[in-house]
Symmetry: D2
Subunit: 332 residues, 4 copies
Amino acid sequence: MLPQWNRNPPFNFTRASHVVLTSRDLSASRDFYTQVIGLVLTEETPDTLYLRGLEELAHHSLLIRLTPEDQPFCQSIGFRVSDDEDIEKALHHLRSNGLSVSELDVPHQGRTIRFVDPVGAVIELCSSMDLAQRCMREFHLFKGGSPQRLDHFQVATHDVQLATEFYSELGFRLAEYTAGNGDELWGTWLERKGNTHDLVFTNGRGPRLHHFAFTTPDAQSLIHACDVSGSLRAGDIIDRGPGRHGISNALFVYFRDPDGHRIELFTTHYQFIDLEAPPIRWEISDPRRAQLWGFPASRRWFFEASEFEGAPVSEPLLRADPPTLEAYLART
Amino acid sequence: MLPQWNRNPPFNFTRASHVVLTSRDLSASRDFYTQVIGLVLTEETPDTLYLRGLEELAHHSLLIRLTPEDQPFCQSIGFRVSDDEDIEKALHHLRSNGLSVSELDVPHQGRTIRFVDPVGAVIELCSSMDLAQRCMREFHLFKGGSPQRLDHFQVATHDVQLATEFYSELGFRLAEYTAGNGDELWGTWLERKGNTHDLVFTNGRGPRLHHFAFTTPDAQSLIHACDVSGSLRAGDIIDRGPGRHGISNALFVYFRDPDGHRIELFTTHYQFIDLEAPPIRWEISDPRRAQLWGFPASRRWFFEASEFEGAPVSEPLLRADPPTLEAYLART
Amino acid sequence: MLPQWNRNPPFNFTRASHVVLTSRDLSASRDFYTQVIGLVLTEETPDTLYLRGLEELAHHSLLIRLTPEDQPFCQSIGFRVSDDEDIEKALHHLRSNGLSVSELDVPHQGRTIRFVDPVGAVIELCSSMDLAQRCMREFHLFKGGSPQRLDHFQVATHDVQLATEFYSELGFRLAEYTAGNGDELWGTWLERKGNTHDLVFTNGRGPRLHHFAFTTPDAQSLIHACDVSGSLRAGDIIDRGPGRHGISNALFVYFRDPDGHRIELFTTHYQFIDLEAPPIRWEISDPRRAQLWGFPASRRWFFEASEFEGAPVSEPLLRADPPTLEAYLART
Amino acid sequence: MLPQWNRNPPFNFTRASHVVLTSRDLSASRDFYTQVIGLVLTEETPDTLYLRGLEELAHHSLLIRLTPEDQPFCQSIGFRVSDDEDIEKALHHLRSNGLSVSELDVPHQGRTIRFVDPVGAVIELCSSMDLAQRCMREFHLFKGGSPQRLDHFQVATHDVQLATEFYSELGFRLAEYTAGNGDELWGTWLERKGNTHDLVFTNGRGPRLHHFAFTTPDAQSLIHACDVSGSLRAGDIIDRGPGRHGISNALFVYFRDPDGHRIELFTTHYQFIDLEAPPIRWEISDPRRAQLWGFPASRRWFFEASEFEGAPVSEPLLRADPPTLEAYLART
């Protein structure tokens, strides 16, 4: 059943802001994200990389911390709210709803809080950041996929229904969704910024970060990222694509970074602003949902993801699996 | 002096919605807009064309009415507000401010009002439209420039300062601007939907509609529109470009339709959401402002535009002219 | 061992000219080749389709004949020679070498002969064709992948060494090759027209036509063909890609037509004219050979192909198989 | 009148090989050619730059020598012939025809001769070069316009008829031409390598090198060169375009290097191999000839060019001028 959308939420999420990952080798991460993906390195310390897209004014949209451990994690995904007042409202609202919220002091970020949402994902909210330079007019700096800005997150969760209800109440609006037998939600595409998604939930062992996504200006940039990945002998890191999603209509490619974290490069979505526009429903059995061109994704794409640090993982409530590349090849 | 931005406006403009033009030959208009630009024809009557972009769900974003007169006009530019309640608020607010507002009954549009703004431009506000089909996944229908959606309007006005103050009070936020001697505003780029502009004012004889703009997915689509324009022997209609605007960073091309109305095709802007992002200032004397690659626009581009039907035109208060192509060529 | 290249061959092959296929349903073929691929239909009879690329002046480069049989075939692949005198020279040379050669009367073709080469493939030679119109400046006619011209053929053969020796003696020059243990030839890329290949032989059950290839102007056109294939619900027909070949450096995608014949769309090769340029050697075990980005091709791509009508198929002499997608997925 | 094409020329021109320019500032030249155009620097000495395209195996296709003088020159344009034997044949043939020919010792070039052609242009012929690396698979090295290879030269000459006759006798074949009143030749596009041109002559003060041209993989690369030119504040150097030539159907842009030499980046031509294909004729008065999209070139483009060092310049025999941008703007 589709959750009710709250048009007047308690505070104002504005956009996906940043993701915090851990890495076992910052040098390998830096090379991958600056050369293949093409992000700009805002700042580097012995144990942290701060990266951003070419058009981003904010100090960082990707923060990578060195870990001495064997397993890399996602520490949190971050959203922007309008201002400090929103942070106050969020603090109050989330605590009133029984969630654990802490205040954080993160370099280069304005007021920042962190909470664990009802499906276990670790979320940061932040009101502002230090300003860097927009590099969008510095075309001689464009590399790899020429990523413009962080756009959205996809989180695998054991309970898509619960996650969707929580964020709908916080003002996220459903643009598209995948449903299985009856009306059980298998995946939900939720938005705040006026196009199809800022936050996606899909059914699976979770909470785990399936991927974060940066926009590219066009198909050519996306293909150039693949080519650079190949020419730097980093070709194994292409996880899926290029292809065209039915959902959201984006041209996409997915890479795995040196720690296995998954990043999507994609051309932008369609606009989704008018209130009379209904969400689009897709059947889980429809392969065009995920790939308009035919080939489904591999099991690796469906079942591997980055755990949130400190968050226990649960088995999915729903047992409807989408078609996989392995099954597709066996059939043909 | 930069006007103050009102973050809590009296009603909620959401986006540029539609433009209403008159034409002396609907058949020529239809051919141009469907073949060269690539818009979808939603509906056609003996005296009206309703057109929309490939991803647009709303019934029309370009409405063309047959005129028996010699001079074609812009009848109005239209914006969407959230809902009927917003229309009520707008009616009340605009009348309270002494503006003349009328209610309109336009086929396929929900509640619609029309007013004349303080610089004389004719504006429609509309709360909803009949739904058509999004054609963005019907790639076999893509033609010409594969236009996705209406994005913004540029209006020439005799008083950029006044226009900017009016719309700032209504919640439009300044993203970029061109200033002449001292801080006199020559052009202002104002936005509502989270990227650089939905409404632009530039100094000149006005009010006149300088152009309306549709997004294209990429540079290739924009070039294909030029090629189709050339292969259909419609090449004279290219008015400027292709080129890269410094302002907003868009790759652009401008066409003139068979009645002389100007339409821009452009790749999308950068995101402009965070409150701490300051507007970008450009000097009127800086040619990179308008064209990062060097060539300025011709006098024709600067000085020709579509008058609003019934609206008297005033000479600009500011006498600072930008560099023109004619002057550039004479110099070299 | 690499065969000796004969710089002064007995007659002058100039380029790949046309391919002749049979189809069980001409209407399905026509829709696929004109809508998804984007070829121009020069002429149609109840049992034949004549198609050509957008820039091609010659009457046809793809000829499809209706078959009442269950199995579709390739009837022949055709090359152009300079002129009628070359046809005479070819007749004489091929017969002197004990090959069976017949003269053909094909509508719209100048003098034409057909022979069976030493590995069993059926080859046509043709000196000229009726002239159609080049449509390359008719951009409003561009559809699907906007194919420009027929470029090359790939033939699976049981004996790559023998095939390569035969065509080297006829003036084809080796640009790149794949070798297995020692120096056994697994695949050879042979050219006449000054870039990497007009004719390719790869090891496998043969003779069978693996694919024929048309050039596209750019990556965008190639992706548009995929998108149109998806939007016309013809997505299963994508057989491989898009991807980047290491060999020849082409961006590629492979489709299967309604009869299972395989067609490649690809961006063009690099120039290969200078005599001092050595052929490039690739190891069969190197996956970058076939796909610079990582994913190998599926078994279907490697092992399915179109038989030549009337030509018995032999098992390959060489038993070295390349890495497959199935094996790659099982490993990861 | 169209000259007779000699199909069996006395020696074998294979392709445009290299151009030799002088520069007053090698550092500025290096920055322009490596950053904006994107050429690879093979080698650098205190007074020479050797540059090549991304796919070129030959040591250099652009050779720039430091000059202490105020005026930069083109020293020669170079073509490849098949081998040393061809150099011998050329020496003999050219001297037999009364032309002055000298042997040159140029580093990294095989046997090389230089002659002055009947219209005064200085031509080098060269049989081979030292081999560098093809960088076409090193996508991380792609910059600016990602130029692949040198393609052709355009030379302004006082006598297009004479120049065309001379090169037709040497085996160059006419693919397209512009004619004025009656059949006077205003411009001729001549080819050797199987597409529309390797050498172009246009009417004007000459001999002067109008431009040399490198291919780019697609429209996006060409636009990226413009963007980089703009972002490096080198935007004044765009001399014309982007646009689409009617002749040859190429998408083009022209830059001026820091010494004023003109370089074209363009997407490749159509294939021109079959003997039955007639040359295409364009009227000098047809603006689609030069620019399918409408805007003619400026006077600067038509009338500025690089003189050949030591070659006196003559006024053109033909006084038919093409439409210019200045005239076009004055008219509209």
